[in-house]
């Protein structure tokens, strides 16, 4: 039997991923052959090639011939949901590479592999989002996290970075183990790993009164594994350390893409595979959402390090996003994706600004008080940061308010009152530290002297674009809302 004919059309649909894998192999060869000496020019060169290949993959994705298909013998599924998330992953990948040039140059990290690993992890996340089977899911998650461990440790002369890499590696391996154990339990109790088979199997499951504790334990383990990867609250211990230790561009990458990809995959698994046994997982997600919002708000209060502050802030944001997931409705998913896009925009702006400020001895800023005087030395940048912080806190005319409002609204409409109440309260608490940052920018008078390097072109563009989204989304939010509604529908249409 000619098995290749079975997969004849699959390669056509998988074109972006295949292209990215080839591009990564080619760039590795290119890097080995061309870059003899450690010089920054090679890194920039490889970086632009990576941007080129990510852009081409985006074009391939947009112009793909098939919009809805099960492929690779039911292990992958492509639809509008994956299209949307994959497009965002590629865009964020391009953004992160653009952000990195200047930083890598200043930090003397002359490694073209960094760029290739960003490319490879983007590829892995494309696979991750598309996976439709527990084994495919696990393999893609492992692929992604392996690339992440390496780039977390990529600043070899800093012990913080090594520590971050090691911590991330151990806890990541731990969570992968939990994930795998959960999947094997699910497989053991059902005999299938395919999500649509699981969905078929669970139809009307809760009314059957079948004793299946092991299955619930498996489901719990799978969700906990993913929540570990997301750094949601009881499993968030690693994230401030990893965020602090990794090079700042890598921190930005960690704050942006895995949140999107892992949350998308978790949503897919819970909504497609396990929707009929929603009771057990909804409790887990609710508890994690509550805990993340509270930890994100309270934990950040005492932080003086900017990156740790941003880590706690991202834990809080994950809590809000999980609120949408816990609501279990189409509107919840829609609100979650709206929130995610706005979160991406705000995080891009923040990290661009944090990357562009350096202390007097040309080190990257570490502490919040390093940002004082900024309103005088670079008023526009300070204004941008202040407005982004307002947006993160959820002050009305900005995008952050829009997304939060929508989330609370859906939580209320699906009777998750405790979540909505705690969400509003923790949002009030968290606005304290966002406002404190603004106070530092405008009103603190310290004697420290700082050198503010002007933004390079790439970062300036990124910053302007993402800030534009934050600022003016309220004027014309329809495209975003419609697209995320379509995503939610595409996801929920899988539930038969």
């Amino acid at each position: 039997m000619d098995y290749l004919s079975l997969f004849e059309n699959d390669f056509l649909v998988l074109m972006p991923e295949i292209f990215l894998v080839y591009a990564a192999c080619f760039l590795l060869m290119y890097g080995v052959l061309v870059s003899g000496a450690p010089e920054h020019a090679y890194v920039t060169n490889t970086g632009f090639l990576v941007i080129l290949s990510l852009g081409l993959a985006l074009l391939l994705l947009i112009n793909g011939p098939v919009t809805d298909m099960l492929l690779m013998y039911n292990t992958l599924k492509v639809d509008y949901f994956t299209f949307y998330v994959q497009a965002w992953i590629l865009i964020i990948g391009i953004g992160v590479v653009l952000m990195s040039f200047d930083y890598l140059k200043r930090e003397k990290m002359h490694m073209y592999e960094y760029m290739v690993l960003v490319l490879l992890s983007c590829t892995s996340m494309l696979f991750m989002v598309a996976s439709y089977d527990l084994i495919a899911m696990y393999l893609a998650v492992e692929f992604q996290s392996l690339a992440f461990y390496v780039i977390a440790a990529s600043q070899r002369d800093s012990e913080f970075s090594t520590e971050a890499g090691l911590k991330y590696f151990f806890l990541g391996a731990f969570s992968s183990g939990i994930l795998l154990f959960g999947s094997s339990l699910v497989y053991g109790y059902t005999g299938t790993t395919n999500l649509s088979d699981l969905a078929t199997l669970y139809t009307g499951f809760e009314s059957l009164n079948v004793a299946s504790g092991g299955l619930y334990v498996g489901l719990m383990f799978v969700s906990v594994g993913f929540l570990f990867k997301l750094a949601a609250a009881p499993f968030h211990m690693w994230s401030p350390d990893v965020y602090q230790g990794s090079p700042t561009t890598v921190t930005a990458f960690f704050a942006l893409t895995p949140k999107l990809a892992v949350l998308a995959l978790l949503t897919k698994i819970l909504y497609v595979g396990f929707y009929d046994i929603m009771g057990p997982w909804q409790k887990v997600v609710m508890v994690c959402s509550l805990a993340s919002m509270v930890v994100g708000a309270i934990g950040a209060l005492g932080q003086t390090n900017i990156k740790r502050l941003l880590a706690y802030s991202s834990i809080g944001h994950v809590g809000y996003m999980l609120m949408g997931l816990a609501s279990g409705s189409v509107e919840g998913i829609q609100a979650m994706f709206v929130y995610m896009v706005i979160y991406v925009a705000m995080t891009f702006t923040t990290f661009c600004i944090v990357l562009s400020v350096r202390t007097a001895d040309n080190k990257p800023v570490e502490y919040i008080h390093d940002l004082s005087h900024m309103s005088r030395s670079n008023p526009i940048l300070a204004m941008t940061l202040a407005l982004t912080m307002f947006s993160m806190a959820g002050v009305p005319p900005l995008a952050g308010f829009c997304s939060k409002f929508y989330l609370f609204f859906t939580a209320l409409s699906s009777s998750l009152y405790p979540l909505a109440v705690v969400g509003v309260l923790s949002s009030v608490v968290s606005s304290f530290y966002y406002l404190r940052l603004i106070k530092t920018l405008y009103f603190d008078h310290t004697n420290t002297v700082h050198s503010y390097v002007s933004l390079d072109t790439e970062k300036a563009w990124l910053c302007a674009l993402s800030f534009g989204v934050t600022m003016f989304l309220i004027m014309y939010p329809n495209p975003l809302f419609l697209a995320s509604h379509k995503v939610a529908l595409a996801l929920c249409a899988l539930i038969r």
Binding site: L6, L117, F127, A136, A140, V150, G165
Partner: protein, 185 residues
């Protein structure tokens, strides 16, 4: 022999032997794929890791030469208990209850499984792995690629201070001129 041998390197080698024996037991149970995986994982990865660790630790042989006979009472007791347990198990399972021929009213059963076209575990895994599920195989290869790139990136230092071999120079050396006798005085 793992715990008895004086030299830790020998112990690790005996440990490898134990793993091979376990793999043999698995083979006898008919778990051929597991046996192979057991060998690959335990001998290929874990035992070699142990070997490296032992070689790096620089343990002196003399340290271990203590009197091992003093562990005999406790160890012997546990050993006897285990032996008895094994005997009990053997007594229960291995004795055939009654031979099948005594019950003539039953219809002769057919061993259907022997009539089925038989493929071994490894064969069927291979047939699935390289055809329907080749996607998993490819992703696993990509994971290995990332692991390799990561290891190289984190450990290879391209720096002036790092001494490195130049393969072309190394290959171009003449063997006859490499070691030379120098007459002193």
């Amino acid at each position: 022999m793992v715990i008895r041998s004086r030299n830790p390197v020998y112990s690790v080698l005996y440990l490898v032997l134990v793993f091979v024996n376990a793999a043999g037991l698995l083979l006898l149970l008919g778990l051929d794929f597991f046996a192979m995986i057991f060998l690959v994982v335990y001998v290929g990865a874990i035992a070699v890791l142990f070997l490296f660790v032992v070689m790096m630790l620089n343990i002196k042989v003399a340290e271990i030469s203590e009197n091992t006979l003093r562990y005999l009472p406790v160890g012997g007791l546990i050993g006897v208990v285990f032996l008895l347990e094994v005997l009990v198990v053997v007594d229960q399972d291995m004795v055939p209850a009654l031979s099948a021929t005594d019950y003539s009213p039953y219809v002769d059963w057919v061993n259907w499984s022997s009539l089925v076209d038989h493929t071994s575990n490894i064969e069927s895994i291979g047939m699935l792995m390289y055809t329907y599920y080749f996607y998993y195989f490819l992703i696993a290869s990509l994971i290995l690629l990332v692991a390799m790139v990561g290891a190289i990136m984190l450990t290879l230092h391209k720096h002036r201070a790092v001494k490195r071999q130049d393969p072309s120079v190394q290959n171009a050396r003449e063997f006859s001129k490499t070691v030379q006798k120098v007459r002193l005085g």
